[in-house]
């Protein structure tokens, strides 16, 4: 059902964990639907994502898309990261079963929520 790439990211998820005092965090999904994703960003003064961690409650695809999304934005600028799409995550994973596409949407939303949180905090601090 899953591609090798998905299984690789499920078996060895990258960037699992939390960041204390993160520059931005985003949580999307809910347990009722069976998926929750949490993304933690550490963003430097040049608006580069220095570090990123995630925690996910969900199926194999939820874990793999979280892992892949964090890999894709790590070291990127906030602006670059904002342009991440669920399709790009799916492509990077070499495909997802149709009923699991929503997980990639969740991953995109989690990244965006975390960046929005960062922007809100940044602007509030100005």
């Amino acid at each position: 059902m899953y591609t090798e790439k998905v299984m690789d990211h499920f078996k060895n998820p990258r960037n699992v964990g939390e960041i204390e005092n993160a520059s931005g965090t985003g949580t999307v999904g809910n347990a009722k639907c069976g998926d929750i994703m949490q993304i933690f960003l550490d963003i430097d003064e040049n608006e580069i994502i220095r570090d990123v961690k995630f925690k996910t409650f969900g199926c194999g695809a939820a874990v793999a898309t979280s892992s892949m999304a964090t890999e894709m934005i790590k070291g990127k600028s906030v602006n670059e990261a904002l342009s991440i799409t669920n399709a790009a995550v799916v492509e990077a994973l070499e495909g997802l079963p149709p009923q699991k596409i929503h997980c990639s949407v969740l991953a995109e939303e989690a990244v965006k929520a975390a960046i929005e949180d960062y922007i809100k905090k940044r602007d509030a601090a100005k």
Partner: protein, 388 residues
């Protein structure tokens, strides 16, 4: 790597004796039982012997056994048939919230088609239907009660004999989906007042794609599949003689060893159940602690999601299930667990391990070794898991 098959409620390995019994029907006694020659008589004899064997196991008469293409077909045939044949009496049907989809979806479709008024009974926290709730739901226009013998997800066993008794007293036909129970726990259609009963061979080491609908003598059930006059005009289509021989052989063996299997498998099941409870915190046993199938273990494991547990087990060679097999891969949590009152997020994290007589103690030890690590790993990844 060790491979451990603990998904026997989804389907079972066909046992060697069954394969051996089927092969002659494929290659030697391959005639069409309806034809008029030696090959046909040979096939017809296999068919009659199988029918007698199945009847004997459940306390029926041979002519009350209709062979079908599986458990789902048996369920569909029973429900549509009884309702069609009893239109004059009424159109009220009673079932439970934890039925297999072959019953529940069929009845819901029939309700949408305007064929029936449907009452779906709730279950208790163990997934069991109360006799009282059936009694209270019966109406003058009730034509059928369909309550499963044992649940496919949590293994809980319903008070079938008592439900049968009440239905008989009120003159209402009683169907039970015994797909999970047959071959595993004793069934007697006479003593239990069962009028119709569904069986599927692949749940007791028989082949897939063949089942039985027991229809008590005198109960009218028109064909679901129309055509030739096979099965006393109740199920058209050339009889699946090898499959039927396989079903009967598997059922005979299962019933002959039922007691000793239940004991041995039950002991392993208890070890697994106890082991999980001891080694993994925050788990909840689903289904009744004692009134359950001897081979079923079902736990909700908090803070993590079922599919990811399955994948981790699979990576380690262990075949298990979460929710029912038919709906896995879907996003909805099990309708059975929800009907038992579990909150969604806990229902999402259920794990079903179903044993067979081929399960070994070594395999159980392997699972008990691995499962705690897997759970911990996934919990460490979960935003729901409370920090310590």
């Amino acid at each position: 790597m060790m491979r451990v098959y603990l998904d026997n409620a989804a389907t079972t390995m066909v046992r060697q004796e069954v394969v051996d019994a089927m092969i002659p029907a494929f290659t030697t006694y391959y005639g069409n039982p309806s034809s008029l020659h030696e090959y046909a008589r040979e096939a017809e004899q296999l068919l009659s012997a199988a029918r007698a064997d199945v009847a004997a196991v459940i306390g029926a008469k041979p002519e009350e056994i209709v062979f079908t293409g599986g458990g789902s077909e048996s369920d569909n045939m029973a429900l549509r048939g009884v309702v069609a044949a009893n239109k004059k009496k009424g159109k009220h049907v009673i079932t439970s919230a934890v039925e297999h989809h072959a019953v529940l979806y069929t009845l819901q479709a029939m309700e949408r088609e305007g064929l029936i008024d449907l009452t779906i009974l709730p279950v208790d926290e163990y997934g069991i239907v109360s006799v009282e709730s059936v009694a209270n739901a019966l109406r003058d226009d009730t034509v059928l009660v369909s309550i499963m013998f044992a649940n496919n997800e949590v293994g809980s066993i319903n008070p079938i004999a008592q439900i049968g008794k009440i239905c008989r007293e009120k003159g209402v036909l009683f169907h039970t989906d015994a797909v999970q129970a047959t071959g595993h726990v004793p069934i007697d259609v006479g003593a239990m007042n069962i009028d119709l009963l569904s069986i599927s061979a692949h749940k007791f080491h028989g082949p897939k794609g063949v089942g039985v609908l027991y229809i008590r003598k005198g109960v009218r059930v028109p064909s679901l599949i129309i055509g030739g006059g096979q099965e006393r005009k109740r199920r058209a289509g050339t009889e699946n003689v090898p499959g039927i021989v396989g079903l009967a052989t598997a059922l005979k063996i299962a019933s002959e060893h039922m007691e000793e299997n239940a004991k041995r498998v039950g002991a392993l099941r208890d070890k697994l159940m106890k082991g999980i409870a001891e080694r993994i915190p925050d788990v909840k046993l689903n289904g009744h602690p004692t009134m359950r199938l001897p081979n079923n273990v079902n736990y909700s494991i908090r803070y993590i999601e079922g599919e990811s547990i399955l994948l981790m087990l699979d990576i380690n060679g262990i075949a298990a299930s979460s929710g029912s097999a038919c709906t896995s891969g879907s996003l909805d949590p099990s309708h059975v667990l929800l009907a038992m009152g579990l909150p969604h997020e806990i229902a999402h994290g259920s794990l079903r391990l179903t044993l067979s007589e081929f399960t070994t103690e070594e395999e159980i030890d392997y699972v008990l070794d691995l499962l705690p690590q897997i759970v911990q790993r996934l919990r460490d990844m979960s935003p729901l898991y409370p920090k310590h």
